[in-house]
């Protein structure tokens, strides 16, 4: 399978790396020698120097034989133009474009229907906003991902020491929290190592635990695990850029008390004109006085989403030291990721990681219909539908031949969430949620689809 990636920036780089590991034929196009050298050094990909908006370069990259075309430069315009040319040069290619500006996304149907004929527009800003909103909706969770159209959630929590399941083996999980709730522990992150657990693994203090459950059970499970927290209502958003504005707009209702801090007068005027309830403040996020003036110690959540990640990290630390309950930081550079937790920032959002996740989502072949990365990129949760003619239908879970380090977390059968045991049988149209380490993904994909289609 040939994949063309336009743009070797942070998003392009990581996509190329991920796809190359999965044995795909990857061609990366960029105008910068430096960026191309970096990609070529780290992954087994072909690189072409030139602009993605040039049809000659696209032809050179072999767009005619390509299956997937990813336009992920930082410029919306170049992404759109390259998709235009790609659709003219090759009829069947699947085109995914990263487009962020509202002036294009508001009229997204014009790009997906005719002309550019883009298969899917990926808007990382919107996804970041959605992930922050999800975090706010489940107080206490560190990370939340959705499956099956939002019916099933994969929730990451820092397991508190007083939790009833602390120190117990996973096979005894049901005895500890009650038989009426369905959940499966999908992964444990311990000492920076990701573990896909088995029944005999024991939960230890300091574990970051990921579990899967029905969204309707979520609050009850959180309560029984001892991680229930006060709901988030008072919010300070730092940075009134695209993400900050979208977020404030989403929180523009009676439930939330939102403050939005921005340091440019003109932008403040714009924000104040377009927002009703949120209070727009002008000032610097590292100015202690303004933070105190606005009662930073009473804030349930401080969300720093300026374009400058150093500012974001520092203002979150300042807010935390002044008493803010939780902080969310936007980070662009993956290099900072390992830093976040040790220095005491609660959550990280990363538009580029969101973009990568969504793009991978659409690249998966067969019937894998959604995927989510856990712990950066070490593991992925996949969602797949068992079609009637699929080889897995009628088999028991233990006979599926999944490799070690991968696990079927649950089935969704109609409206019901089934937590499987080894002898549970896959029925047609079941939605399977599977977790797997990165190296095993091709093997899992192979189990789920036929070999001929895949390679």
């Amino acid at each position: 399978m040939r994949v063309i990636i336009i743009g070797a920036g942070e998003v392009g780089y990581h996509l190329a790396q991920r796809l190359a590991v999965e044995n795909k034929e990857v061609v990366v196009v960029d105008t910068s020698d430096e960026a191309l050298r970096k990609v070529a050094e780290s992954s087994d990909v072909q690189t072409i120097k030139g602009s993605g908006s040039s049809p000659r370069i696209l032809a050179e990259a072999g767009v005619a034989e390509a299956d997937i075309f990813l336009a992920v430069t930082d410029s919306d315009e170049i992404n759109i133009i390259s998709c235009y040319y790609a659709s003219m040069l090759s009829q069947g290619v699947t085109k995914l474009a990263r487009i962020r500006s509202e002036m294009y996304t508001d009229y997204g149907h014009l790009l997906t229907e005719r002309g550019a004929n883009i298969t899917k527009i990926i808007n990382p800003d919107e996804e970041v906003v959605n992930s922050v909103l999800r975090l706010m909706s489940v107080p206490g969770a560190v990370e939340i991902n959705e499956f099956a159209g939002g019916k099933i959630r994969l929730i990451g929590i820092n397991l508190p020491d007083h939790s009833p399941i602390m120190g117990s083996q996973l096979i005894h999980l049901r005895d500890k929290i009650g038989d009426d709730l369905r959940l499966v522990i999908a992964a444990i992150v311990r000492n920076d190592q990701l573990i896909i657990p088995g029944g005999l693994d024991v939960l230890k203090p300091g574990d970051l635990v990921y579990f899967v459950c029905d969204i309707r059970d979520q609050d009850e499970i959180m309560a029984r695990l001892g991680v229930a927290d006060d709901p988030v209502r008072k919010v300070l958003i730092i940075g009134g850029g695209n993400i900050g504005f979208r977020l404030a707009k989403a929180l523009d209702n009676k439930y939330y008390h939102t403050r939005l801090l921005e340091n440019q007068q003109k932008r403040c005027e714009y924000l104040s004109e377009h927002l009703d309830r949120p209070i727009v403040l002008m000032g610097d996020s590292t100015d202690q006085e303004i933070l105190r003036e606005e009662n930073i110690q009473d804030m349930d959540m401080v969300i720093a989403v300026t374009g400058d990640e150093e500012t974001n990290i520092l203002s979150c630390l300042l807010a935390k030291s002044l008493g803010a309950r939780r902080t969310v930081t936007r980070v662009n550079n993956f290099g900072y990721m390992p830093l976040i937790e040790p220095i005491g920032i609660d959550y990280v959002v990363c538009p580029r990681l969101s973009a990568i996740n969504s793009l991978l989502h659409y690249i998966r072949r067969g019937k894998i219909i959604s995927s989510v990365s856990i712990k950066g990129e070490e593991a992925e949760a996949l969602e797949a539908v068992a079609l009637e003619d699929s080889p897995i239908v009628g088999k028991a879970v233990r006979d599926l031949g999944f490799p070690r380090g991968s696990l079927v977390l649950c089935f969704q059968r109609g409206d019901e969430v089934v937590i499987p045991r080894g002898d549970s049988v896959v029925q047609p149209n079941d939605r399977l949620i599977i977790i797997s380490t990165r190296q095993n993904i091709p093997k899992v994909e192979r189990v789920l689809t036929t070999k001929v289609e895949f390679f």
């Binding site: 005027e269 924000l271 104040s272 004109e273 209070i279 727009v280 403040l281 002008m282 003036e293």
Partner: protein, 485 residues
Amino acid sequence: MRWRYVLHVIGALVACVGLTMALPLAWGLYYGDGTAAPLGMSMAITVFVGGTAFLIFRHSSHKTSIMTHREGMAIVALGWFAAGAFGGLPFYLGGIFESVVDCVFESLSGFSTTGSSVLADIESVPRGLLFWRSLTHWLGGMGIIVLSLAILPFLGVGGMQLYRAEVPGPAPDKLKPRIKDTAMTLWKVYVLFSALETVLLMFGGMDFFDALCHTFGTMATGGFSTKNASVAGFDSAYIDYVITIFMLIAGVNFSLHYLMLKWKPSAMLKDPEFRVFMCMVLVFIVILTTAVLISGNYDNPADAVRYTSFQVASILTTTGFATADYELWPGLAQAILLLCMFVGGCAGSTGGGMKVMRIMLLFKQSYQELFRLIHPRSVSHVKMGHTVVKDDVIRGVWGFAFLWVGLLILAAFVVAATGVDVVTSLAASLACIGNIGPGIGGVGPTDNFAWMPDAAKWVLTFCMVLGRLEIYTVIILFVPEFWRK
């Protein structure tokens, strides 16, 4: 300022007013009540004087030149006084009043839709003149300038200046790209509602004459009746409710009615001013009904609702019809009606007062100041719904509020100086500057203004025009800077 041009346009306006006298003249001829002669003569004089001024001051350069802001305001302000003076002619020639001030008072009370009267016995006045008296309401309600804009082609160029001067509200809406079409549209809506109300009133047993006169009084939020006892003279719950509803309709921005008629009801339902207006109406009716029931003015809740809702609608929209003597009601009820006098109708309606929109902006701006004390670094705007209100509009509203209250107090001082008691002089000034009609004290719903000294009547007449043209257009004539070349 080109005086020839100003007089030229005023001449046309006066001639227009003269032509409208043809309508009462027709009634006079039909009834043969002896009003045909004075009305005919008034019409001849008015049309002659207006037409002569129009022709004498005509100049070829006027066609192409653009009207300045100042000229527009001078034309509107002076044009209103001129219309009022000539509008009083039929009363003078018909022998209704002895003194000139009474004629001008009655005429401008009509044009400005105030509805304060110096007539002691209305029913003794012949019908032709009563019809003229009510017609002045109807002409002044939507605005004689707006009417002129709709029908006089030569005003097209400077139309916007004139329109702004007569309809100065905080946010003048242009319904159509051209001002002439906007004026025409507003008049069409006005005529449509008037026709509807007339028919509904006739169903209630009024004859055509009464129905028409009361429609004029209602739709213009004027308040002249053809009965000494005002609407109470008909003593019909049906008529009370029809008039109540149409008073409220007239108190709402006519742009919203236009959108409603174009099947865009959401525009009205989502309009913040409309919502506040309707909330006030409902809350006031509930409070008043409770108050009058507790104090025992009415035994029957149905009666209480009928009379309080009529009074609230009448005073809040500044119509001034009466079906009950609210001076007999408890203090709380009277205080609320007094509050209504200040508030008035919505911007862009035919109602007077300070206008709901301005009161809302004053509240919001005041809240904004408090908010800024709590959040000194905040950047915020005053908004109506989701729309930002610009700072110059807010400044205009503050200036207006100060001048309105200041001139009200000044007028009350002058009226009191002529020997009227304090409460009455304050109420009379408020009733006139707010274009309401009845006040409290010596000018309550059962009294009239006939007994006042002439000097007080002149002041109050001036106040009526001041209120109708929303202060600025008139008061600017007294600013020396305005006359500087």
